[in-house]
Symmetry: C2
Subunit: 340 residues, 2 copies
Amino acid sequence: MKSTLAVDAMGGDLGPATLVPATLDFLAEHPAVNVILTGDEATIRAELPDNFESLESRVTVRHCEQVVAMDETPTKAMRTKKNSSMRVALDLVKSGDAQACVSAGNTGALMAMARFVLKMLPGVERPAIVQFLPSMVGSTVMLDLGANSECRPEHLVQFAIMGSVLAEAVGGVENPTVALLNIGSEEMKGNDLVKAAAEELRACDINYFGYVEGNDIYEGTVDVVVCDGFVGNVALKTSEGIARMISHLMREEFTRTAGSKLAALAARPVLKKISDRIDHRRYNGASLLGLRGTVIKSHGSADAMAFGYALQAGLVESSRRVPERIGESVLQLLAERVEQ
Amino acid sequence: MKSTLAVDAMGGDLGPATLVPATLDFLAEHPAVNVILTGDEATIRAELPDNFESLESRVTVRHCEQVVAMDETPTKAMRTKKNSSMRVALDLVKSGDAQACVSAGNTGALMAMARFVLKMLPGVERPAIVQFLPSMVGSTVMLDLGANSECRPEHLVQFAIMGSVLAEAVGGVENPTVALLNIGSEEMKGNDLVKAAAEELRACDINYFGYVEGNDIYEGTVDVVVCDGFVGNVALKTSEGIARMISHLMREEFTRTAGSKLAALAARPVLKKISDRIDHRRYNGASLLGLRGTVIKSHGSADAMAFGYALQAGLVESSRRVPERIGESVLQLLAERVEQ
């Protein structure tokens, strides 16, 4: 089946010079994919190579005059940027011309516009930012990573369902285990939010595990970790910080003396494998779940390799019908409640 | 000046067999320190070596029949464990026989008992768990790490003052910078709690920096990072988890093939230095701040080396009068408010 991705070519810190070649590389590897690049046509065309014929039929450029700035407020972007590369990419998903939108632009604006253009799935009140994170045994789906800094218990329940669908549909895990992130695994631990959410989750038709703590995300204790967007965002950024600090220390120690430089040379292939395995670019591409369509947020500073992973996420999620499956699961939950 | 530490010899997962020798090692290195070991006298004495004379005059054993179990609820421990090693160690600080209490026991019980026995400083409503964490440029004081899973803005303000005093008195930082942990550095970002706390902090006489994000903890952007205990605990445990995962990957890659084992051999001195620098044992010893006395919580699984760092923290905090200085700073803040 042919899939079409709407790619916001203007988003992110690196812009079309990085995103357009990354998209063409992706097309070369995925023969059944078409793309629509949205943004300033002249700028985009300048990045298309001369020997472009083989891919030409699969690439459309949709000219848009506007760009959403990285520091623009969501409300301003919503009101004034109706012809932006971001907005048009979302419109293409809405109209069915594309099956997924991929953008490295302003997260808040993308969320607000996606919600306005695509609408929420029935029964889902808030979109969540979701990502696969590496773990000792594979990967862990974690949400919300920053869309909702204040949540009610029912939001966490909706996140649990959405994460569970993603782990199953994309991660290939059968009947995934879902846990609430807490500050202890005993029942009495935690704040009112997680306690109330735990009670609701125990009554739901998902494979609810109980509470986990921060370390469990990377130990792979469960398949899906659920928390509010404040906690999730802090956990994610803290992880990035400590990983960067460890890399920094390693570089410092391996370049300190002539002897340590020699050791680095001897260990280079192994160090390369380690750094590849924890390379955050391989985990690029956060999903905005809860919408009636597939929207992928790439990291703003994504390079070509990282952006390829975001495109991949868009392709996989839309072709495995993640939004539709979330919709079905949420409706099923609502139906069970009515019966009770 | 002579200092006496009250050491709960029964606390933690490893018990007297680890804690008693660790305490004697510490005494050997610190000639001006005495200790009172609390717990079952026979068990403790069994861990004292034969050639003990040189230290004997500096060690007192205070027999207690009870031990607080690691999984006991704080209320139960409070009600039924008045003659426990933990409670008696705190009583010794209260009576002035010791200047600090160090325990590797049940955190919740230690907090509750410390609050009951020592009382809070005037103007401080809640104790906080505080630790120095490693950063790229030195270390960062972070609080609260799990004592208070629900906070009001004024609690975060009190934490900010306490952290600031600790960074100055123990960390040796003049006029330390203090930030609130948030999910973005822009003013509009965050939940109601941090927004309200930010407003109060701007009006306080501390060196308030603004918001920081999770990665800033390890980048050393500021000297003190303040958050509620839920967020702080998740950030701390998440950090432990990713650090452990990276170590695990390194071990896996360095032992995969004969070639990688050879590389590990060549790189061993450098790898040792790196693992020393991120060794969590060097950061063992969390302070319970806000009390009228010094109480240090060692990690439950602390080994002898780690426990030595906790004893060190108790010695330094009490000799630099951290509780008194926190008391003065909080009173000063209250006085300023009355004037306003």
